[in-house]
Symmetry: C2
Subunit: 182 residues, 2 copies
């Protein structure tokens, strides 16, 4: 979003360091309101059925046609785990139960924090939501590693299979660089 | 922030459900820009020195005069752990090292996700930053439980002492209601 005008009074915004602050912010030249820009929280699941993981093929940009785990922006008013299950329902029409928080990945350059939960499908029933072209279960050896939409998703999947193969699930906290592809 | 006018073009915003969405959003009546409001990420530390925890007495509202752990809004461009250490430096002039992510607390009603890291002071040197009246180390039996600023902070401290007393530190993921006091 271009930051040109004040949400409160419609006057011009200027870029300056407010008193008592140490960073450039968009400040209203008229009413003085400071317009902070904050990182966003993305919540999602790793939906498991037996030895398979549910992935969604994206129907929207960025990365249309590439595979992803169900995930999206957390809404105000919803707990993080409920947001992750809502995204799973919206993107894959799948009902799942949360097992645990599995990965906390920050992508500072684009101001994102991803919270990915390990979850189990209640039934092997799913279908593409509005933002998906296709939804299907993959065994480890079937994962389309060359066609994963985002670096956060491939990192989460690699950590999942690593932990599954060693027989112990941990919490994975990492900082990632932005993918060259978004 | 009151949402009256468009950041991009200064026209009036209206509250409606955008096409393909299922929630009320502030949408520009003129240019069509959707102004999402997202939860914010708060990063902080539990700074430990020997058997003591560093707390800051707040110099600012809300909850001026009450005790808190160093924490604040994550900035765009910074990893979550670096943000937590920055807040520790700003509020307590203390240098610490992160041990692990310890608590992930969401407060959905006010759109906040708190990421609290267990950290160790490098030296027992600290002093109040601009947002603190006083900074000091507390042993468990000295914690001013009746004068802790926020529910997220008392929850984090209780989990810390619980884990320390049982001899094993876990990850604490919870959803909290907003405190009656903020």
């Amino acid at each position: 979003m271009e930051m040109n005008f004040c949400n409160r009074c419609a006057s011009k915004l200027e870029l300056r360091v407010p008193e008592g602050d140490n960073r450039l912010r968009h400040v209203c030249a008229s009413c003085g309101a400071v317009h902070y820009e904050n990182p966003v929280v993305i919540v999602g699941t790793i939906p498991i059925w037996q030895d398979q993981v549910l992935l969604c093929k994206r129907a929207i940009e960025p990365r249309r046609g590439f595979w992803t785990l169900p995930a999206g922006f957390q809404e105000i008013g919803e707990p993080i785990d409920e947001g992750a299950l809502r995204e799973t329902q919206e993107e894959a029409h799948a009902h799942a139960e949360i097992e645990r928080l599995f990965a906390v990945l920050s992508v500072p350059e684009i101001g994102q924090v991803h919270l990915m939960f390990l979850a189990h499908l209640i039934k092997p029933e799913f279908s593409p939501g509005a933002e998906s072209l296709q939804v299907r279960l993959f065994r480890e050896q079937e994962i389309p590693w060359g066609h994963i939409a985002f670096r956060t998703i491939s990192r989460t999947l690699r950590c999942y299979f690593f932990d599954r193969n060693r027989g112990e699930f941990g919490l994975h906290v990492s900082t990632l660089q932005r993918s060259p592809d978004g």
